[in-house]
């Protein structure tokens, strides 16, 4: 087994305000060096909050964080000041959903990448520009010398996302966090970016956490998948295990809702209802109200975490039951 690059232990995140939102509830997760994990979940499942907690981007005044997050052995919840700055963008960097918003409109693409490199590596401007040019080549931007001088608004959506990736990888992070980086892109551009990320991940050997709501995208990018629901991981395993042998009723429902191989006109096996509002900390299985298999025991307490195989887990009382006939 690979060394642990990232370990999250019993992470709990609450947002305080007019009402308290229990965004993450007792989440544990580990990632080895060079592994690619997809965090799969719907809106409000806490997948983006997990990423933000990893980068310490949550507003400290309104957020209560408990638990432990270690990246390469460093407890990042205790970082502050200079070491936090070194950590962000150095060891760990992030690619956002909207590159148009994440890139600074008043600087050229080259200047933005070079600035990050100078700050983290302490090299001269011309050396940093060399790195920037090299990065643009690696993300396969045509005529990279010319693109260095472009402003973000002069680039198309796909090109901007490539620049965003170049910026994130310029300092050779050990862990790359990607927050739905292809959701805003067209299908033919999305697949290009996914393949590019896969290639760069192999080349740079970094660990990747890829947040997405789209199972198809998760399959294309990741070795492992963790399915999130209501601030908890309900199922985790290799991509093959999750796709071929889903155990949690929610994962099964999501796969069915993807309509990949549903016959036309056939009635869809939709998961009824909507996700819970998370105003209270879940005391029983959060999915039970929508689950066809749920019984009184599911509503009585938190479900046990079953581990059918090494590094595979399912938080469900019914995980071992035979897959219902379809």
């Amino acid at each position: 087994m690979t060394d642990k690059l990232l370990e999250i232990d019993h992470l709990t995140v609450r947002f305080k305000g007019a009402r308290t939102i229990h965004a993450i509830n007792d989440l544990s997760l580990s990632l080895g060096e060079g592994e690619t994990l997809a965090l799969l979940g719907e809106s409000g499942s806490g997948k983006s909050v997990t990423l933000k907690a990893l980068l310490r981007l949550l507003p400290p005044k309104r957020t209560e964080i408990e638990g432990d997050i270690r990246v390469g052995g460093t407890d990042i919840l205790r970082l502050s000041g200079r070491s936090l700055q070194r950590y962000r963008g150095g060891d760990v960097s992030m690619v956002f959903q909207e590159p148009a918003l994440a890139l600074d409109p008043v600087y050229t693409v080259g200047a933005q990448i070079a600035e990050t490199v100078m700050r983290h590596k302490g090299v001269s401007r011309s050396e940093a520009m060399e790195v920037a040019l090299d990065m643009l080549k690696r993300v396969k931007i045509p005529s990279p010398e010319r693109r260095l001088q472009n402003y973000p608004h002069e680039l198309s959506g796909g090109m901007r996302q490539r620049v965003m990736i170049a910026l994130a990888l310029a300092c050779r992070p050990r862990l790359l966090l990607a927050d739905e980086p292809t959701t805003a892109l067209d299908a033919t551009v999305q697949i290009q970016i996914l393949l590019l990320l896969r290639e760069l991940q192999k080349e740079f050997g970094m660990g990747v956490i890829f947040v997405t709501h789209d199972i198809g995208v998760a399959v294309e990018i990741s070795e492992r998948i963790a399915v999130m629901y209501a601030g908890q991981i309900v199922e985790e395993g290799t991509t093959r295990e999750i796709i071929k042998d889903p155990r949690h009723p929610y994962t099964r429902g999501l796969l069915a809702a993807n309509l990949h191989d549903v016959a036309r006109g056939e009635r869809l096996a939709a998961i009824p209802g909507a996700p819970p509002a998370l105003e209270t900390r879940p005391a029983s299985c959060s999915f039970a109200p929508r689950c066809a298999l749920a019984g009184p025991d599911c509503r009585a307490g938190l479900p046990p975490v079953v581990t059918p195989a090494p590094r595979r887990r399912v938080a469900c009382l019914r995980a071992d039951e035979a897959v219902p006939a379809e």
């Binding site: 009824p272 209802g273 909507a274 996700p275 819970p276 509002a277 109200p289 929508r290």
Partner: protein, 294 residues
């Protein structure tokens, strides 16, 4: 075939109260706004009921009792340069000052809203026409514009009202246009148009309700400026004419007494200051009370 899916996790059905009740509730919890509201309300009520408050005659002077200091028995706030009771003049002065200070904003609110909503909703050439004309007025500072128009029309209450209204129509139009074009681009306007409703119906049902409150908040923030401008016009002698009591005019006529009794001659200024400050703070309070959303 029926839908049996339980629709869980719908937001808890809170007390069914209207939007404005919510705004009022939030405003009531803001102490600064409530204090300002009390001051403004007291000033307006005092101005309205001035003749029945048993005050001295604000026009009747006395050569003997000129420039009595604050605290003189019988004249709590002293007397002015013609021996007229200051308290009576300040309260009676509120009638004109508040009237000239508030009415132009009310007029401009109606005219500017109509122009702006039409420009924003219809768009195209009409928008260009209305907004370019508005821009012409914007080219001048508001004080200068008010003085120029009042100067051209001549002194008098009606002319002050007209000139101040003209000054405030352009900014309100511009805000109304911006808010309306924002709303105009939302899908619910398209959905309403797709029902075959006429432009007027769409504006009445779907546009007005969503643009009026931001325009209203903006207009309330103009009232303090308008009061100061109105007082300024009178101070310069192109607004209200003596011997009418009006704060700006009083400030002007008491100017000569500034070395004799600075406190006394500052009183009209204090009234202008307090009123415009309270109006400003109140409009800020209303704005934040209206902003709160789910």
């Amino acid at each position: 075939m029926t839908l049996t899916e339980p629709l869980t996790s719908a937001p808890a059905p809170e007390a069914r109260k209207g939007y404005w009740a919510g705004v009022a509730g939030r405003l009531a919890r803001d102490p600064v706004s409530m204090l300002c509201l009390a001051v403004v309300a007291a000033l307006i009520l005092a101005a309205i009921f001035a003749p029945w408050l048993g005050l001295a005659d604000p026009y009747k002077g006395s050569m003997i009792a000129r420039l009595k200091p604050i605290g003189t028995p019988g004249h709590i706030l002293g007397t002015d340069e013609q021996g007229r009771d200051m308290l009576a003049r300040l309260i009676h002065g509120g009638r004109l000052t508040l009237f000239i200070g508030l009415m132009p904003v009310v007029f401009a609110f109606f005219i500017g809203s109509i122009l702006g909503v039409v420009a924003g909703y219809v768009g195209g050439r009409l928008n260009t026409l209305i907004m370019r004309v508005v821009d012409v007025f914007f080219a001048f500072p508001s004080v200068l514009l008010a003085i120029a128009i009042s100067g051209a029309l001549g002194a008098g209450i009606v002319n002050s009202l007209v000139s101040l209204t003209i000054v405030f129509v352009p900014p309100i139009t511009r805000v109304a246009e911006a808010v309306t074009s924002g709303v105009r681009s939302l899908d619910y306007i398209d959905a309403a148009r797709a029902t075959g409703a006429s432009a007027l119906t769409v504006i009445r049902v779907h546009v007005i309700g969503n643009v009026l409150s931001p325009i209203f908040v903006y207009a309330t923030s103009l009232t303090s400026v308008c009061m100061i401008l109105a007082a300024g016009l009178s101070f310069l002698g192109i607004g209200v004419r003596p011997p009418e009591p009006e704060w700006g005019l009083m400030l002007n006529t008491l100017r000569s007494a500034i070395y004799v009794d600075p406190w006394l001659s500052a009183l009209p200024g204090v009234m202008i200051f307090v009123t415009s400050l309270c109006l400003n703070l109140l409009s800020d309070g209303v704005r934040s009370a209206m902003n709160v959303r789910d």
